[in-house]
């Protein structure tokens, strides 16, 4: 049943066995898993069925660190959450992402990847993906490829699956709406999580609507599933019992904010334009899902070099003209633009890259003088890097002095990247450059380090908000335990990417859903 909370009388009290705060992929997954059970579920969603500006404005906050997306726009406060604007990229984290890694402070999950595998397999179906298969050889047998001939000790092929993408808000709406034991309150924004004086248990949550009425929801157990920024915000803002906020006894809530640094400024110029790079540059569709390849660095190399995870797919240069335009200040890119124009005109380019072409088209080969004329796609590819960010306590969310329309303090996001993050990206480029050269595939342009125009300025995030309520067995290292329960509070759980201690390079949605399934199983198995 769906209820618009604005229509309820002020000070209404609602009781349930389980209160889920937030109807994004995690919240909907848990509610759906509990549908038809004996558990009475109250699912609270701040927005409606579709996004609207007034509600989205509650997400606004200030970026006070590394340049980042508009916080009001990079999230969705409506039924379905961020899956409403999700592109559908899916991949589980790798085994190494769960390890405590030398040289990567604060790395490691409380369990290995094998623990999550059964949940990943179930999450595949929820995200409308194919089989739980991320071994490129499996997909090779289904017509994908060819793979580049690179040394597997340095660079490996990897795959992502593409969800249609599944809009959880529409695909699973009926499952939730028709469940007799699930009551979904729309337009119901939680503004405070109330506890007893010792903050050992949640006693109820205070809900406000933009129409001015308020209500209280009381339940035996609570799941906070409002996203990687809002989860921390709500815990920090719930300070009636504890001034520092809930779960924040060790000053960890909001810290360790991580993203997947995205950067497209490196460029791959194939030696021969006939090289088949489609595995890395084009989605292959298997209705309803797709598969695309990428290149990454194997775990052995990551461990040896104490390097963070790195992946790159190939984005045809003409496919992203805005990225080229953004990088016009680079000499090499200016040459690239001129080259592109020359190729379009069918003329021989006369700039540096054209000159370079002569050099980079293997010196021991002949007869390639006419290859440019054969081009029909573009002269090369951006290395579309999606990298891992190291857990960093200084990269964080705090509460600002401004408040939103419901009186909740707005967030300040201080996204910080470190030398390790930058060095890992450069090392990844470098490895690809060497492997591409060795295999006579082509040459790689990577921006040089300059003070005037640092390449780091081109890094952006993917709206992947992770780490702010990180998971650890030790309360001094994490906000939630291995189950996702807030340390020190016996009936409050956190779901979503905020619990990730590390984020690998894989897009987070599949892991969010897998963890939500695991939590749902726990809640079912332990219902009282």
């Amino acid at each position: 049943m769906f209820i618009d909370a604005r229509t309820l009388p002020d000070r209404t009290e609602i009781e349930a066995d389980l209160c889920i705060i937030g109807a994004g992929p995690a919240g909907i997954t848990i509610a759906r898993e509990l549908a038809g059970s004996a558990v009475r579920v109250a699912l609270l969603e701040g927005g409606g069925l579709e996004p609207d500006d007034e509600t989205e404005s509650l997400n606004a906050g200030a970026n006070v660190g590394f340049t980042y997306r508009d916080l009001a726009r990079s999230r969705r406060r409506c039924f379905g959450g961020a899956t409403g604007h999700w592109n559908g990229w899916c991949r589980p984290l790798d085994d190494i992402d769960f390890e405590v890694r030398e040289g990567i402070p604060h790395s490691g999950w409380p369990f290995p990847k094998s623990h999550l595998d059964p949940f990943y397999a179930r999450a595949q179906a929820l995200c409308q993906l194919g089989p739980y298969q991320y071994d490129p050889r499996y997909w090779q047998g289904r017509g994908l490829g060819p793979f580049f001939d690179v040394r597997p000790g340095r660079v490996v092929n990897t795959v992502f699956q593409m969800s249609p993408p599944t809009r959880f808000g529409s695909v699973y709406r009926a499952d939730v709406e028709q469940a007799p034991n699930v009551e979904t309150l729309l337009r119901a924004n939680v503004v405070d999580i109330g506890t007893g004086p010792e903050a050992r248990s949640v006693t109820g949550v205070r809900v406000a609507t933009l129409a001015g009425n308020g209500l209280t929801v009381r339940a035996r157990r609570y799941v906070l599933a409002t996203g990687g920024i809002e989860n921390a915000r709500l815990l920090l803002a719930s300070r009636t019992a504890v001034p520092a906020g809930l779960g924040n006894q060790h000053d960890l809530v909001g810290r360790f904010f991580m993203e997947h640094p995205h950067v497209n400024v490196a460029f791959f110029l194939p030696t021969d334009p006939a090289i088949d790079a489609r595995f890395y540059s084009e989605h292959r569709f298997f209705n309803p899902f797709g598969v695309i390849g990428a290149l990454s660095v194997p775990p052995g190399w990551l461990r040896r070099e104490r390097m963070l995870g790195f992946s790159a797919f190939l984005a045809p240069a003409l496919y992203r003209p805005e990225a080229v335009a953004r990088a016009q200040s680079e000499d090499g890119y200016q040459s690239l633009l001129d080259l592109t124009e020359s190729v379009r005109r069918g003329a021989w380019p006369e700039d540096f890259i054209a000159d370079l072409w002569n050099v980079v088209s293997d010196l021991d080969s002949v007869g390639r003088a006419t290859v440019w004329r054969l081009f029909d796609r573009g002269p090369g590819y951006h290395l579309a890097v999606r990298a891992e960010q190291a857990p960093n306590p200084l990269s964080r969310i705090t509460l600002g002095s401004e408040r939103d329309a419901l009186g909740v303090p707005r967030v300040n996001l201080d996204w910080r990247l470190t030398d390790l993050d930058f060095a890992s990206i450069r090392r990844g480029w470098d490895l690809l450059a060497h492997e591409f050269g060795l295999a006579a595939l082509g040459r790689v342009f990577m921006p040089e380090q300059t003070v005037e125009s640092p390449w780091q300025e081109h890094i952006s995030g993917g709206a992947h908000h992770m780490g702010t309520t990180r998971m650890a067995d030790d309360p001094r290292e994490g906000v939630v335990d291995a189950l996702g329960r807030v340390h020190g509070i016996d009936n409050l759980y956190v779901a979503g990417s905020s619990v990730f201690p590390t984020g690998g390079f894989a897009n987070p949605t599949l892991t969010i859903v897998a963890l939500a399934l695991r939590l749902a199983d726990h809640l079912k198995a332990t219902r009282r």
Partner: protein, 130 residues
């Protein structure tokens, strides 16, 4: 590359070629044919290779002379070196192997952002000097 740098490089390269020519005659006992032609035959467009070569040279703390470059590019054995440089196909194969070795063992340089094998950068530098 701005004009003044190009001029400077032209001057440096001119001097280097002059001194290298003398050393070359002493060191390698080259094939009768002028080896300049062989080196230039390696690339399709000398003008562009020279541009890359100049950029590479400009990035070095000290500009090598052409005999240094030849020595690094050719086999250390003088007879083999003479044999390789006497035939453009042989030279092409030799350089190609070195390029792959360079990439395989990490001997690369960045020339205006492009990651090149040290060998190919040196070939361009040599061509810039010829």
């Amino acid at each position: 590359m701005n004009v003044s740098r190009r001029r400077l490089l032209t001057v440096l390269a001119g001097g280097a070629v002059a001194s290298a020519a003398a050393r070359f005659r002493l060191g390698f006992r080259p094939a009768r044919r002028d080896d300049r032609t062989v080196w230039l035959s390696l690339v399709r467009d000398c003008r562009s290779s020279r541009a890359v070569g100049r950029a590479y040279l400009a990035s070095l703390p000290a500009v090598p002379d052409s005999s240094d470059l030849r020595r690094r590019l050719l086999p250390s054995d003088p007879q083999r070196a003479a044999s390789v440089v006497s035939d453009v196909e042989r030279l092409r194969q030799h350089i190609g192997r070195q390029v792959r070795d360079d990439f395989g063992s990490g001997r690369t340089v960045q020339v205006r952002g492009w990651v090149l094998a040290e060998t190919e950068a040196r070939v361009c530098a040599l061509i810039a000097m010829l």
